[in-house]
């Protein structure tokens, strides 16, 4: 292991980007939940959220058939009403070519988790090959994981070099850099990792909270830390970075609260699916359910919504 330089890398980075007070940030995000979004504002928010969903299936048991029905759901989330398609479908690299048959040439993009998702514990060569394969099969977007081990041991250069290599390998595809916030543990670390990633990715590439494969996923708190990092980076460099919370956002109410955080932290220019996404599966049905409730004035029975996320 390399000998830490003096002053240590974390200390140097925090002197540069500043720290986060955990109590304060949680107090801040608690206020988003007290916003009351009604009537037209609610419909707008719900529709916006639908257009931001990366409809996801990341299971060992995924099949071409499962991916096909996922794509249909993404293209047309509900059989009645005017519900827009989702932003993308998100699948494993092996499923990209199956998804391509259904959504290529439509508004729905194909996102693929590459780089030995979710652990990232494979040789860099293997990870890059996976990225290239996914792009060759038709992926429009690549969701990569950072090397948490390198980050936590203070080897920021290594972590950034790997991200830069993936940027190169992904070519024209949009990149989403997964920080895996639950493994970074502190808000300070989430801010630090956000900055390290943002400094090597391109305008409108994403930083993303989590894989959805660990115990804790997107929370309003880590979403806020990342939004504030994006804001500071944008004001300093002029480079806009997009954001994707993933995992754990299951209800329309939660999604609206996350969007309120975006509205009040980054403003109107981030309220579109080029700058903000939800990595989710069950969320879409709740958004549709709420939109149908607004349209018809009553909640519809669950069997109207192809309820189980397994059975689109």
């Amino acid at each position: 292991m390399p000998v830490a330089k003096s002053p240590p890398s974390f200390r140097r980075l925090f002197d540069d980007i500043g720290t986060v007070d955990a109590v304060g940030i949680e107090e801040r995000v608690a206020k988003y939940g007290t916003r009351s979004v009604k009537k037209g504002a609610k419909v707008f928010g719900l529709q916006l959220a639908v257009t931001m969903v990366d409809l996801t299936t990341l299971e060992g048991k995924d099949t071409p058939g499962k991916v096909a029905s996922l794509c249909q759901k993404a293209l047309r989330p509900h059989d009645v009403g005017e519900i827009p398609p989702t932003a993308a479908v998100c699948v494993y690299p092996a499923m990209v070519r199956h998804a391509a048959k259904h959504v290529k040439g439509t508004a729905v993009r194909i996102a693929s988790v590459a780089t030995a998702f979710p652990s990232g514990q494979a040789p860099l060569k293997t990870r890059l090959a996976e990225v290239r394969a996914a792009v060759a099969d038709g992926a429009d977007e690549i969701d990569m994981v950072i090397n948490r081990g390198a980050f936590l041991s203070g080897e920021f250069g290594l972590m950034q070099d790997e991200i830069a290599a993936v940027v190169e390998a992904s070519g024209a595809a949009t990149l989403k850099v997964i920080l895996e916030t639950s493994e970074l543990e502190t808000y300070d670390n989430i801010r630090a990792a956000s900055f390290l990633a943002m400094r090597v990715i391109r305008p409108n590439d994403f930083i993303k909270t989590s894989t959805g494969k660990t115990s804790a996923n997107a929370t309003l708190g880590n979403n806020q830390v990342m939004l504030e990092a994006i804001r500071d980076h944008f004001l300093e460099t002029g480079v806009p970075i997009a954001m994707k919370p993933a995992g754990g956002i299951r209800t329309a109410k939660q999604a609206l609260t996350f969007l309120i955080a975006v509205k009040e932290t980054l403003g109107d220019e981030w309220l579109n699916n080029g700058r903000y996404r939800f990595g989710a599966s069950a969320l879409l049905n709740d958004l549709v359910r709420q939109l149908e409730k607004e349209r018809t004035g009553a909640y519809q029975a669950p069997w109207n919504f192809s309820e189980a996320s397994e059975g689109y």
């Binding site: 500043g18 007070d21 304060g24 007290t34 009604k38 002029g238 806009p240 699916n273 700058r275």
Partner: protein, 496 residues
């Protein structure tokens, strides 16, 4: 529709846009405040008309519409209230065992919770504060004070171990308009827990929830005379303070009136506690987590439209981060929502009265005239009602009037400092000493500052945090005596 794909254009101005792309629809709180057209005085457990038959109107500062007529009590009414309190003290409340008194306090606390929504709406209509504050802070905190003191009622012997504690008898209390029900709770809960009976005069512009509290006392079956509420103006308050039966008086309000009270009580045997004005310093060091500090600064000065005696109205920022903090404050100001206090999304409501609005306007004009750099939020204000834009003043120096006088409105004065010593000196260079805030990542700096700052409360990396168990009160011209906690309760007891 909303499908804009990743637009690769960057904003050359590098500013964020807080526009109207997604405007919230009106979300008014619709709970019924259950108000009467006319409110009488609450004396001896009954609502009674004032002896002279005079009433005055209370209006909604959010839209200037009259809400109800409020009884104008005079010295004769105060006399009746004090006699009722004295009788209740000698016959019922004084002799009652502590654990029985505690039951009444618990009952009041629970009833406040039961009626929380109704009280929140009434408080917001009468005082202008945003409904989310009355709903999430004022009313729950008022109930919390009754719960806390209910627990003390049968444990008074542990208040000062080895010594005897006894109630004073009749306590006269005069409260301000910024937290009408909460200040009532701060005053009445410890007084009753200690075994005193109470004559309370609410502020002229905000009597509604105090008189509605009379209904709670009735519902709780509180013995007649234990709590008496006499609404009215300054003279009514003076009558309460000066009445020969009130052996202890407690006042929260302006330093000016506090001084008058001290003068009028000089030479009497009355015990007194005063909680007066403030001009708190909120001190931000360069190593502070800036976004959370900005949040705390906003909360410190704009909470309740700045009508807070402990408001962090003087921001002291270390020079190296002053520009950055100001830029972040301006950005945050753009997302604050000013408007109808009853709307659930309103962050800043109406100024309590026309008088107060004029006072704020005058002080702000003075600030501009003295050369401070003003920045105001560009939000739209409602056409009717008393509103004032959230205001920041940069480049303020210690000699400016806006850095010395209590504005009691949504106006922040920003000063800078270079070293810790300079921060302490500037913070303490005020006649007041109620509260202060310190923002830094370094724990040892917090401890050092908290011993050097002459303020009753010092918050570290937070602001405006309250708890019934935590004593609150001031140094110097911010008054004396404490409210809350063991120390606050002691101020309602004779310790022998």
């Amino acid at each position: 529709m909303i499908m804009a794909r990743a637009s690769n254009k960057t904003n050359p101005a590098r500013e964020l846009v807080f526009g109207d792309l997604w405007e919230y629809d009106a979300a008014p709180e619709t709970a019924d405040p259950k108000l009467k057209k006319r409110y009488d005085l609450f004396i001896n457990g009954q609502f009674v008309a004032p002896k002279k038959g005079k009433y005055f109107a209370t209006i909604n500062p959010g839209n200037e519409v009259k809400i109800a007529d409020i009884a104008l009590g005079d010295a004769a009414d105060v006399d009746a209230a004090c006699k009722a309190a004295q009788k209740a003290f000698t016959t019922v409340w004084g002799p009652m065992p502590g654990k029985e008194r505690g039951k009444y306090l618990y009952r009041i606390a629970r009833l406040l919770q039961d009626h929380a929504r109704e009280f929140a709406v009434a408080e917001t209509m009468d005082g202008g504060k945003p409904i989310k504050e009355s709903r999430d802070f004022d009313i729950p905190m008022a109930a919390a004070h009754f719960f806390y003191h209910a627990g003390w009622a049968d444990k008074l012997e542990y208040l000062a171990p080895g010594r005897q504690v006894a109630p004073y008898g009749v306590v006269g209390q005069v409260i301000p308009w910024n937290f009408p029900l909460l200040m009532l709770a701060w005053k009445i809960a410890p007084a009753l827990a200690a075994g005193n009976c109470v004559v309370l005069k609410p502020a002229e512009t905000t009597s509604l929830t105090a008189l509605k509290f009379g209904e709670i006392c009735q519902e709780a079956g509180l013995p007649p005379g234990v709590v008496n509420i006499v609404s009215g103006a300054g003279e009514t308050g003076a009558a309460v303070i000066n009445h020969p039966l009130t052996s202890k008086v407690a006042f929260t309000g302006s330093t000016e009136v506090g001084k008058l009270i001290m003068r009028s009580l000089a030479g009497t045997e009355k015990k007194m506690t005063l909680e007066l004005g403030g001009k708190a310093a909120n001190i931000v060091f360069e190593d502070a987590p800036l976004d959370q500090a900005v949040e705390g600064i906003i909360n410190g000065i704009f909470f309740n439209q700045g009508h807070v005696c402990c408001a962090g109205s003087r921001l002291l920022v270390q020079e190296s981060v002053a520009g950055e903090v100001l830029a972040r404050l301006k950005r945050r100001l753009a997302t604050l929502r000013v408007g109808d206090p009853l709307d659930k999304n309103t962050d800043i409501g109406a100024i309590n009265s026309k008088e107060q609005l004029l006072k704020i306007t005058e002080l702000v004009k003075g600030g501009v005239a003295e050369g401070a750099e003003m920045h105001q939020s560009e939000c739209r204000l409602p056409a009717k009602g008393f509103y004032f834009r959230p205001t920041l003043f940069a480049k303020v120096s210690m000699s400016h009037r806006i850095a010395r006088e209590e504005i009691f409105g949504p106006v922040l004065s920003i000063l800078t400092f270079r070293t810790l010593e300079e921060a302490v000196e500037k913070a303490n260079n005020t006649p007041y000493g109620l509260s202060a805030g310190v923002w830094t990542d370094k724990g040892s700096k917090i401890l050092k500052m908290s011993t050097l700052l002459k303020a009753g409360v010092v918050w570290a990396n937070t602001y405006n945090k309250f708890d019934p168990a935590s004593p609150f009160g001031g140094y110097k011209e911010s008054g004396f005596g404490r409210e809350g906690g063991k120390q606050g309760l002691m101020d309602y007891c004779k310790v022998g």
